[in-house]
Symmetry: C2
Subunit: 254 residues, 2 copies
C-alpha cells in the first residue's frame, strides 16, 4: 500500500513537472518571437522598409494567439494538476510573464506602424540614439528571459538595475528631440514619431523588469515589486550567492 | 455516508464562494481607489495644485500594495480551495484585472508627476479637450468595474466599443497639439506635457477594455482578446440577451 501511494505521488509530480517544463519552454519561445519583432520593427524604421514594417505589424497576431493559448495551458495545469507551493507560484508568475510579453509585442507593433507612417520624412540623423536604446532594451529582454529560464535571481536583479540606465538614456533622447524641435519646427512631426518609438522602447524595458521581479519573487519567495533596487538587492543577498537557488517544488508558500 | 459527502462538498463550496466574494469586493475597492487617483491627478493638473499632485503621486504606493496583497489572496485561494471550472477562470481573470488596475494607477501617477512639472507654464486653453478625454476614460473604467461586479457581458461589450471613440478623441487631441506647436514653438514643451497626459489617458481606456474582455471571457467562456468588436458582439449575441449570464460554478472549462 505504501509503495502504491509513493508511486502515485511520484507519477502525479512527474506529470506536473512535464507540464511545467512544457509551458516554460513555450514562454521562452514566445519571448524569442517578441524579441525578433522588436529587432525587425527597428530595422524597418531605420532602413525605411515599409514591406518589412507591414510584415511585423501583421505578425502581432502570432504573439496574441500565443498569449491566449499559453493562458489556456496555465489554466489547464491549475485545473488538472492542482500545483501547490512554489509550483503554484511558478504558474502565477508565468501567467503574468505572458501578459508582459504580449504587451512588448504591442510596443513592437507600434514601432512598426510608426515605420509605415514616417518613411517619407525620416530624420535619419537621430536614429543612432534610438537604435542604441533599442539594443539596450533588447539586451534587457534577452537577459530577463535567461534569468527566467534558469530561475536566477542574481541575473534578474542585474536586469532590473539596467532599467535605471535605460530610463536615463530615454530622458536624454527626449531632451534631444525637444531641442531639435525648438531649433527647427519643420522637424516637429518627425521628432514626435521618434519620441513615440522611444517611449515604446522604454516601456519594453519596464516589461523586462517586471519579468525579473517575478523571477526574484519565485526564487526568494518575497515580492519585490514596487520596492527600490536596494531593497531588491537585500532580498537577493540575504540568501547569499552560494545558496542554491530554489527550484519549483522546493519550498512552501510564504 | 452520502449525506456526509454532500455536506462536505457544500461546506467547501461555500468557503470558496466566500473567498471569491471577498477578493472580488477588494478588487472593486481597488478600482475605486484607482478611479479617484485619475480624478485627483486631473484636478491637480487643471488647477495647477502641486500639493494635490504630490499627494496623488505618493498615494500610488497604496495601489501597489493592494496589487501585491490581492495577488497573494488569489494565490492562497488557488492553493487552499483549488477552484475548478468557471471559479478557476474567475481567479485567473481577477489576477489579470489586478495587473490592469495597477497599471492604471501608474498612468494616474504619471499625470500627477506632469502636473508637478508643468505648473509654471500651463497652456490653459487646451485643458478642455484633455478634461473631456479624462471624463470619457473615467466613465469607461467605472462601467468596466460595474460590468465586472455584475458579470454582465453586454455591458462589457458596450465599454469595449467606447474605446474606439476614446481612441478617436485622442487622435484629434494629438493633431490639435501638433498644430499649436507648429504655429508657435514657445508652446512646444507645454504641448509635449499635454501629449504625455493624453497618452496616459488613452492607455487607461485600453486597460478598461482589457478588464471588459476578461468579463466577456468569464461569462461567455470564449476568449475575445485580440478579436474585432464585431466578433466580440457575435460572441455576446450568440447567447442572446434573454439567456441567463453564467455565474461562477455554472459550467465546465471550455
Amino acid at each position: 500500500m505504501h509503495m502504491d501511494k509513493v508511486d502515485v505521488t511520484h507519477h502525479i509530480s512527474s506529470q506536473l513537472n512535464e507540464a511545467l517544463e512544457h509551458v516554460r519552454g513555450r514562454v521562452l519561445r514566445m519571448g524569442g518571437v517578441v524579441e525578433q519583432q522588436i529587432a525587425r520593427a527597428m530595422r524597418a524604421l531605420t532602413e525605411a522598409d515599409v514591406l518589412l514594417a507591414e510584415e511585423v505589424a501583421s505578425n502581432d497576431y502570432q504573439v496574441n494567439s500565443l498569449e491566449v493559448s499559453l493562458d489556456e495551458e496555465c489554466t489547464q495545469i491549475l485545473a488538472r494538476r492542482q500545483p501547490a507551493a512554489s509550483d503554484l507560484r511558478l504558474v502565477v508568475a508565468i501567467i503574468k510573464t505572458i501578459t508582459d510579453l504580449e504587451r512588448i509585442g504591442d510596443e513592437a507593433e507600434k514601432i512598426a506602424r510608426t515605420a509605415i507612417a514616417v518613411t517619407d520624412r525620416r530624420p535619419a540623423h537621430n536614429y543612432t540614439s534610438l537604435e542604441s536604446l533599442a539594443n539596450h532594451v533588447r539586451g534587457m529582454l534577452r537577459d530577463a528571459l535567461d534569468a527566467f529560464a534558469r530561475l536566477d535571481a542574481e541575473a534578474a536583479l542585474a536586469v532590473a538595475r539596467e532599467d535605471t540606465r535605460v530610463d536615463h538614456e530615454y530622458e536624454m533622447l527626449m531632451r534631444q528631440c525637444i531641442t531639435y524641435m525648438m531649433e527647427d519646427q519643420r522637424t516637429i512631426r518627425g521628432m514626435i514619431d521618434l519620441m513615440w518609438c522611444a517611449r515604446a522602447l522604454e516601456r519594453i524595458g519596464d516589461h523586462a523588469s517586471n519579468i525579473c521581479e517575478y523571477v526574484i519573487y519565485l526564487v526568494e519567495g518575497k515580492d519585490v515589486r514596487h520596492t527600490t533596487l536596494d531593497e531588491m538587492a537585500q532580498v537577493v543577498r540575504e540568501r547569499g550567492p552560494e545558496a542554491t537557488p530554489a527550484q519549483p517544488g522546493d519550498d512552501e508558500l510564504p
